[in-house]
């Protein structure tokens, strides 16, 4: 018998395959393709305290083996999320991860407090490159990562995942700061700051100028960062960034990820999470691996 369960701060995921915030809406759309209960967890679209209209179009650009997005955290705001969007996902038993962004530490704390009784885990987005205020500002300094995590920790009892930005010199600093502040888990990576120029019209393609790069193109970078972080922290790590198939997922798990998350791949292959899950299962059976952590290179010994 193989055991695919993952424990994140006491919450048991039945398997290590999650779907990434902002690529999976609030669950409805992909529930038409498969039973969401098959997933290890669902990270919903990033939420802010107040509703956000999001950035002016265009919001997406295809790049070689990747995409740039500039959604800018369009979302209905905390209250509408809880009243209107959450009930659908609640019909499933799949763990729900609320991904939150704030302009101030107080906003993060307030949202966490509110969400505490409604969702299973909270993911602090301190790494969104697509909003002027907040977001990434928090994610590129270890002391602010520490502070926001610490404060949120005081305001909720459910496990906290801190989602790190790759746009830093040393990502392990941020991971350690989050761990020290009481985070139960680290997830990485968010999108990498990129840009495109519309040469016909001689201007940046996005109104916000910079946008977030994701997809297979970033996989070598995200894998490296997951490896670096997994070497350092003693809390679970959720790896993401360009994962498209089960081989990619196994690479991340060998690098030290306790769970993995599928984002952009949902767009070109709506069944990606299920195919990845089946692939990991098959890999474990064929290699006589009974426990996920055995997949880690030298069993994850640091």
């Amino acid at each position: 018998m193989i055991d695919m369960r993952v424990d994140i701060g006491g919450v048991k995921l039945k398997n290590p395959v999650l779907v990434s915030s902002g690529t999976f809406g609030f669950g409805k759309e992909y529930s038409k393709f498969y039973d969401l209960n098959l997933l290890g967890g669902v990270a919903v679209k990033g939420i802010t305290l107040k509703p956000r209209k999001g950035n002016k179009p265009p919001r997406i650009m295809e790049t070689p083996a990747g995409i740039l997005n500039s959604v800018g955290l369009e979302n209905p705001g905390l209250d509408v999320f809880i009243e209107k969007e959450l009930p659908f996902l609640k019909k499933y038993s799949v763990p729900i991860i609320a991904n939150i962004s704030g302009n101030t530490i107080e906003e993060y704390s307030l949202m966490a407090k509110e969400l505490n009784d409604h969702v299973d885990l909270i993911e602090l987005n301190v790494s969104c490159p697509n909003v002027k205020e907040g977001g990434i500002a928090f994610g590129t300094k270890s002391d602010s990562v520490y502070e926001v995590t610490k404060e949120v920790r005081k305001n909720c009892s459910i496990p906290i995942i801190v989602k790190l930005s790759p746009n830093v010199t040393d990502i392990t600093e941020m991971a350690l700061a989050a761990e020290e502040a009481g985070a139960d888990c680290i997830s990485l990576i968010n999108t990498i700051m990129g840009m495109a120029i519309d040469i016909e019209n001689r201007k940046p393609y996005f109104h916000n100028i910079v946008a977030g790069l994701s997809g297979p193109a970033v996989k070598p970078i995200s894998l490296r960062m997951v490896w670096q972080v997994a070497q350092k922290v003693n809390i679970p790590v959720i790896g993401m960034g360009g994962i498209s198939n089960w081989q990619d997922a196994i690479e991340f798990m060998m690098a030290g990820a306790d769970a993995i998350s599928i984002g952009t791949a949902n767009f070109y292959n709506p069944l990606a999470p299920i195919e990845v899950l089946e692939g990991i299962e098959k890999y474990m059976v064929e290699n006589g691996i009974s426990n996920l952590s055995e997949i880690k290179i030298n069993g994850g010994v640091k």
Binding site: G22, T23, F24, G25, K28, E29, Y30, K32, F33, K45, K53, G54, K56, P57, P58, R59, I60, M61, E62, P64, A65, G66, I67, N69, V71, E74, G215, P216, A217, S244, T264, N266, F267, Y268, N269, P270, L271
Partner: protein, 251 residues
């Protein structure tokens, strides 16, 4: 809406960079409404990465056939031309809302260039529709439209085929004789049609284009400006067809 691996029944050039592909899909051919689209993966590999939205141009439910009309303008559509009869295509669909159908009303359909693609199936459903089609120089699919409507006027910019000029000019002359106008084509044409209809208090439905990620409403990248400035509309699920009053076509 679902994922379907469809066999390609035919795929060949119509004229210039315009191609016609017929694929086999029981579900899509049964379910699809005029104005809906499908989301197609171009080739394998990660470049290009995303699916491409293509309208349902026509369908034959009895034979499970879906007809697509596409214009080659980049990596993905170029890859479409490399596929041949017998190959398989990874498709999501049918997607989007489609055109509302009014049988008892007097309707006009106006299309420009490749924008005529979704209008063929629409004209089939609206037997009585009067159809205005505009092209740069080469015309295409005219015979097909003739199968479904006996009131078609053709315009080319250079007058090489049909009448010289733009279909909007003719629509303008007859605008009072319609209750509803359906449009698909270049943004500049849609803007003109929207204004024309709204000035004359005529109901108008236009099919919009935006770059897409998921194509099913999950990623919010296909936002287009709505007339109410509070929010954006999702072209993939709120559209691609909108009442002209819902959307803002200014740049």
């Amino acid at each position: 809406m679902q994922r379907d691996i469809c066999r390609i029944l035919s795929n060949h050039k119509v004229t210039g960079n315009i191609y016609k592909m017929v694929i086999e899909s029981r579900i899509i051919s049964k379910k699809a409404l005029p104005g809906q689209f499908i989301h197609i993966k171009p080739g394998d590999g990660y470049d290009p990465l995303l699916r491409r939205p293509i309208s349902i141009c026509d369908l034959d439910a009895d034979n499970s056939q879906v007809t697509l009309l596409y214009r080659v303008c980049g990596k993905g559509t170029r890859l479409f031309t490399h596929t041949k009869t017998g190959d398989f295509l990874d498709v999501l669909g049918p997607l989007g809302n489609g055109f509302p159908i009014f049988h008892s009303k007097r309707v006009a359909i106006i299309g420009g260039g490749i924008g005529i693609a979704p209008l063929l199936y629409l004209s089939k459903e609206l037997i009585e529709a009067e159809v205005y089609l505009g092209f740069r120089d080469e015309t295409y699919m005219i015979e097909d439209f003739m199968k479904y409507s006996d009131n078609i006027s053709i315009y080319t910019e250079d007058g090489s085929k049909g009448n010289k000029g733009y279909p909007i000019e003719a629509l303008e002359r007859n605008i009072r004789s319609y209750d509803v106008v359906y449009a698909c084509g270049p943004k500049i044409m849609l803007r003109a049609v929207k204004n024309l209809c709204e000035e004359n208090h005529i109901e108008c439905y236009i099919s919009m284009e935006e770059r897409m990620g998921c194509g099913i409403g999950a990623c919010l990248v296909c936002a287009c400006e709505s007339s109410s400035n509070e929010e954006y509309k999702k072209v993939c699920t709120d559209g691609p067809v909108f009442n002209s009053k819902e959307v803002n076509l200014d740049d």
